[in-house]
Amino acid sequence: MRIKHLGIAAMTTALVLFISGCSLPGLGGPSGETVKVGTQTISESKIMGEIIRQLIEHETDIHVDMVNNLGSSVVQHKALVNKDIDIASILYTGTSLTGPLGMEAVKDPDKALSIVQREYEKQFDATWFNSYGFANTYAFAMRRDESEKKGIETVSDLEKYKNEIRLGVDDSWLQRKGDGYKGFIKEYGFDFENKSPMQIGLVYKALASHKMDVVLAYSTDGRIPAYNLKLLKDDKQFFPPYDASPVARNEVLEAHPELKPLLQKLTGKIDTDMMQKLNYEADGKKKEPALIAKEFLEKNNYFK
């Protein structure tokens, strides 16, 4: 029965390995010099994540592992806190304020930023860097000609059509706490009768091809200008500001002092227009984020 004992020993070793988080050969770098960057499913997050990765690998000896397709910035936050990732490619001020920090939405972007910077330092021992230069907010979108025909400029204008409108949303917004659907109903005082949850990437075409009437879009998506969509004004200011920044665990920043100045180089370098263009490269022109990041960094000479 020696084989059996070997088997049990192997299983225990394997279990211990997994739980301790050691990487298996080929699936990750040596834990000492590896930094894990997390990205969300949306292209924006992946592009910024790749920019961070390539910048780090180009300028330092650190190896970067990507943890991709996290469902939302809340998941990124959790992953950061659980040390599953070391750097979150993008966290948004509004989402972190109302979600993980459980606070009331703050309308002023600068104030929101200083609150999250302070709280992340205090509660999570993490550094929330200054913004990349763009904000990606939820925005209700319509086909431009349709909105002009019906004279709809603001979200409140939608109320009289609430039962006819076919609304497309990303599948997590309906259940989202804070800035999600339930909060929306409270603030605006009406709900939509026909809601279709779907992958966020599908809403833009759905709207453009008349399968949906109104969709909840992400404001930096490149397909908004490309499909001539109009973003409605959030007149009750339900959605908080969502300025985008990288966030990193202090433990990792201290272990690798070369990281902080590198990440700081990226602040203020990408405005909304630029982000829309980069996003369109991914979602419209179907380029891999890794390639888009490479081209971007080379064009900017790695911000030396």
């Binding site: 394997a14 992953a79 990437g201 390639l291």
Partner: protein, 224 residues
């Protein structure tokens, strides 16, 4: 067709990345099967000896097998965290039943007369195992490994939802794009190919190990 051109274009621009994910995907599957084999083969031998245990151990493995993959991955993620290790662990769990059951059946089907001769020749129990039982069951055990590998390649595809990487990443990106058919296919085709090729290679190995060479190559994987 345009889509085919798009796919080829994608591969020529991103070949390195696709290969990286292909390799990563396969590695996760292989690790899963490997660890399961280390546990399931000895256990299979054990329960072939002690029939009383076989009932509930196989039932346990059966229960694990029935758990829907996404549910399993999500729950493991809550406990272990994100990343490839969690996926490998779930793949390990899914590989247990096929390997276990096939080892059990294989060892059980060894002709009792051969065991008798072995004992009569003075072999120890371990020698009987090594010289008689294992070689004769190898082919069936191989079939179990083959089934396990195909299953793990399939499950590893949804590892993308918990940040493990693999070809599922490409498929997921394709679903998020407008007109992303080409990208979906660019991810789905290598995944399907990987599974089919793995199945074929393992089938060949299965035949190689069959000492009687009477069996035809089964192109149909058996999980009964």
């Amino acid at each position: 067709m345009d889509t085919i051109k798009e796919i080829l274009n994608y591969y020529s621009n991103n070949g390195g990345y696709v290969w990286e994910q292909f390799f990563r995907h396969f590695l996760m599957s292989a690790y899963g099967v490997f660890f399961a084999a280390i546990v399931a083969i000895p256990t299979g031998i054990l329960i072939a000896r002690y029939r009383r245990l076989s009932g509930w151990i196989i039932s346990l493995a059966n229960v694990i097998q029935t758990i829907p993959a996404l549910a399993m991955l999500a729950i493991l993620m809550l406990v272990i965290g994100l990343g490839p290790n969690t996926v490998v662990f779930s793949l390990f769990l899914y590989s247990l039943l096929p390997i276990l059951k096939n080892t059990y059946t294989g060892i059980n089907n060894v002709d009792a007369k051969l065991l008798e001769s072995g004992k009569a020749m003075g072999m120890t129990k371990f020698q009987v195992l090594r010289i008689v039982e294992l070689p004769l069951s190898m082919s069936v055990i191989m079939a179990g490994l083959r089934t396990a590998l195909v299953i793990t390649i399939g499950v590893a595809t949804i590892g993308t939802f918990i940040g493990a990487g693999g070809l599922g990443d490409i498929i997921l990106r394709g679903t998020n794009m407008t007109d992303g058919t080409a990208i979906i296919l660019a991810g789905a085709i290598p995944t399907a190919l990987m599974a089919v090729i793995a199945d074929l290679v393992m089938a060949l190995l299965e035949r190689r190990f069959d000492p009687t060479k009477k069996k035809k190559v089964k192109t149909v994987t058996t999980v009964s």
